[in-house]
Symmetry: D2
Subunit: 328 residues, 4 copies
């Protein structure tokens, strides 16, 4: 039984803590949060003790720590937890600053602790199967990856202002997925972005509708489109065109129900909540992290993966600002 400390009792901290508590393979020993009530409430739900960050990091009866605090605290916490010799599962991103990540990772490496970054989409059963079948060569060489990601509605502008912008905050998942599927690093990045959803987002200096196209050295192409608004739910699709065929992962619908009436043939809705859409992915992410701790295998979405995705987000942000393509 791996003993966990949870830093951050917000929405995603809660999801992970509950999964750990029900896993039969781990126990949650401590929960810390800037809001003591939140920590107490989650601790209560998972049979843990509420504590504070320093104590959790240093607790001798803690083997691994989940970092689910606000983004600007991630890098510091990773370094402190690493120095305390504990395994780390950290929500993305490590930092909005590529330089900060570059400084942080050697600390982890020096400490020799496992670090997994919370790119949960890698563990979605559909996307994971897509990657596996590509790796097995089912459609030959990967040539064009097309990623569609659209959120039901935009977060509050107050959040957007601190988010680092759409490419770092939202498209970061797609950058990770692009690398996961391309099997090569993009070397050329071009980004477009528009303010079509909410003028307040534009006033905050961000875009709400965006696309990025990237190319690897061997010529493989990846195209990503994002929108902060989709009236029809959390639109999450990936399509890979290969030399011998095409593989795509469509949306997950709430049920298999289909209705026919005088307006057409209607499939059921897709989820509007990312927690609902990716519930199984979150569970599998935790299982995978526990596997790594038990077997000593390296986590698949490593600190290096976190860094590389951030570099792409950085390049896209720059490209959008200048209108020029960015070479990496």
């Amino acid at each position: 039984m791996t003993r966990f400390g949870i830093l951050g009792a917000g929405r995603i901290g809660r999801v992970h803590a509950l999964t750990l508590a029900r896993s039969g393979r781990a126990e949650v020993a401590y929960v810390a949060d800037a809001l003591p009530d939140a920590a107490a409430s989650l601790a209560d739900a998972v049979g843990a003790r509420a504590s504070d960050v320093d104590a959790v990091i240093e607790a001798p009866d803690v083997d691994a720590i989940l970092i689910a605090t606000p983004t600007d605290t991630h890098a510091d916490l990773i370094e402190r937890v690493a120095r305390a010799g504990k395994a780390i599962l950290c929500e993305k991103p490590v930092s909005l600053s590529v330089e900060r990540i570059e400084a942080c990772l050697p600390v982890v490496e020096a400490a020799g602790v496992p670090l997994m970054i919370g790119f949960h989409r890698r563990y979605d059963p559909n996307f994971a199967a897509l990657e596996k079948r590509i790796r097995e060569g089912e459609i030959g060489e990967v040539e064009i990856v097309t990623i569609t990601c659209r959120d039901p509605s935009a977060p509050p502008v107050s959040y957007i202002e601190r988010s680092g912008g759409l490419y770092r905050d939202m498209m970061i998942h797609d950058f990770d997925m692009a690398r996961f599927l391309l099997g090569e690093e993009p070397v050329l990045v071009h980004a477009l972005g528009g303010n079509l959803v909410d003028p307040a987002i534009g006033q905050a200096g961000d875009v709400d509708t965006a696309s990025v196209q990237m190319q690897t050295a061997s010529g493989k192409i990846c195209v990503i489109t994002n929108s902060r608004r989709a009236s029809y739910g959390h639109d999450q699709r990936i399509e890979v065109h290969g030399s011998r065929g095409l593989l795509r992962a469509g949306n997950v619908h709430l049920t298999t129900l289909e209705k026919a009436d005088e307006t057409g043939w209607r499939e059921d809705l897709i989820p509007f909540s990312f927690i609902e859409r990716y519930g199984e992915a979150y569970r599998r992410e935790i299982e995978r992290f526990l596997d790594c701790l038990e077997t000593g295998e390296s986590p698949r979405a490593s600190g290096h993966d976190g860094l590389m995705a951030q570099r792409l987000a950085e390049a896209a942000t720059r490209s959008r600002a200048t209108g020029e393509a960015v070479r990496l």
Copy 2:
């Protein structure tokens, strides 16, 4: 160029006459109809002359005759045309009376003229491909055939009163399709029927919602469901379960468009008109009849096919009336 006479200038007579005129392989020489204006109008549209039934049947410059008159005239006309030595394409059914069909077919046979019955669904590209792939053994032995056929709305009660009832009027097409796909004759027929759509239909002694299940001597099963009302259009589907897999022909939608919004994911409508749904089938039916005339091959939906479908309709009608299964 085969020269045609058209008997009956109603909706389906018009469809066939126009197809013949545009085929480049046939010409329409004469059109006759009980309503002289209808005959004149269609004759004008296809470059033919309006005439009367007797004259068309006897005309020396007519090679083949399309019978698209009311059902109760079919058997008599078939006999007269056969005796005049002309090829016949007759709309289904030959007659509402099995005995009348049994009397009619030997006349055709004695005359040695080709007779094709207008079971147009056999020529629908989807159903034809389904049959072909089954014959080629793609799913092994046929075991269960499921036929779904639902009309957008019921015809007028005045029509229903003369129709012979749902099993003879509407399900007759499904009986033909069942035989086409089973490749064996049903020997046991059980029918259910209800009056759920319009009380006036029940008052006219007919049902508007019905199912039939049939079995062949070797044990193969066919299930048919019909409704006189489908709010969502002309629902026409067939599914065949075989020893090595399942093949099904779904509905044809108006376009490939799909829309996602807050109510779900909506495919486009299916046709509400059978002429629209089966436009291509009607074209191919005519091409097939012309092929037979040119090559001397026997038409696929023969008089015998017409007879056998009528026997099943008869059995179903009886089964529904008595509540008992009928053995053939």
Copy 3:
């Protein structure tokens, strides 16, 4: 925390015991099985004690009992557990004999204990949503229910010999679902059956390919088709035609992946194991039973439901044997 005793540590007993143990709302206290090793192994997995049937039924620290033993023991066990004053969740069927069920239910009623029958399909999220939307009137009046149920492969002939035959063993679930969706009792039943899959099944006196059509007093129709073999997996579909539209629940595929290559466009497989297909249904069934125990609400699939489904299975078996329709 409701304390459970498990009678029967076979496949389905194990599924339910594990669900109970992980529910956070119940604990498994005892497990009994004719095979002591099976009982011990399952007891170990869920933190319970292995015991024997008599002791479990009488144990003062048991509130509810799951009966997952062979079918021929169900009715006796139900009566004994009822007399011991404990709540009962019993796998279907109560008995292969309608008379035995009729004798058993009054005992339960007299004891005043809750009895839920394991018709797990009612709790499948898709079928449950289908029923809910029908009840809410979304497609108007239900007119035709079409149920497709095909198993990947037949059970051993030794099992079939004791099973009561396809209609009682396999189609029983469809009879329950028919009643669930029709909202009325069928009064006329006609069954067809063939031996197309394996001659040994026929030699054992059973069929392996079957259809049933039923009608309610008001004229609503239900059509069910079953096969013991589907090369493509556990085919489980329901379609309901109503006065204002059609609702259908399609198959659940393993992933959302679709592949296009020179052979066509291929969706992923559907499950080949019923445990995999209905995993979520089994979980929700347990949750629902626990809800009933906590709230005092009556279980939805009651003993009466078990009786009525069995009557339909009985009627179908007789209809198949005689070739005649059976009136209820």
Copy 4:
């Protein structure tokens, strides 16, 4: 009856000539081709006379001319036909040179003759319905247009060498479709291209796998991906994300058949031939041109549309060569 002269008796000239001949609204009077046999053969098929280009252009009994000759002759022929006062339907592109188009269009305008460019996809029933529903505001404001276009296999390198490159030869249709759907002109174009299909294409200086992203002044985005090879057929899809929903036009499959077996659930193939895929679009294109001639309405894909699509192709070609985005 509009009388047509056909210049160019190749594949597409033949398709259009046959459509005109069967339309009942036009007749083909003359056919000219650099290969006299080709002209004679087509003339024979449509009841026309074979002639030479000069004679056809000047023929007093010709009202309209179809230009389906090699691309490098288009602009000259347009000017000559315009000066002869005849209506023009010209296959895309007007010219590979934007400057040449800019010189050509004023000649047409001065002559006051109708000019329609053969962007046949506008007339595809699915894409036309897509555009209509967007214009009617069904999904609110258009925000992201995603166009997928992949050919089954690359044309001969000898063709590619004269084609002007993928962006001018193949993606030109997508540029037209992008403008058709965006309802605004793109002002920023970025192109990626790779040589992944056939090294000989790279040696000829072209790419075979490409993407382009474009943005309009108001921020709307369009993303296009092309490949010269799709093992699964002629992949032609468009998706439009709007402020109130998403509309997409999927591929057209050969039939509605679906097969389930142990490898999954397989839909039928999509066409491998563009003539087959766009047969209905070609027919509607001709009908539309005839409508314009009869009503005096301006053709929808005008010379200006031809020019604007060419400018985008030019920009994409330049962007790909330099790696930089191009502003228009």
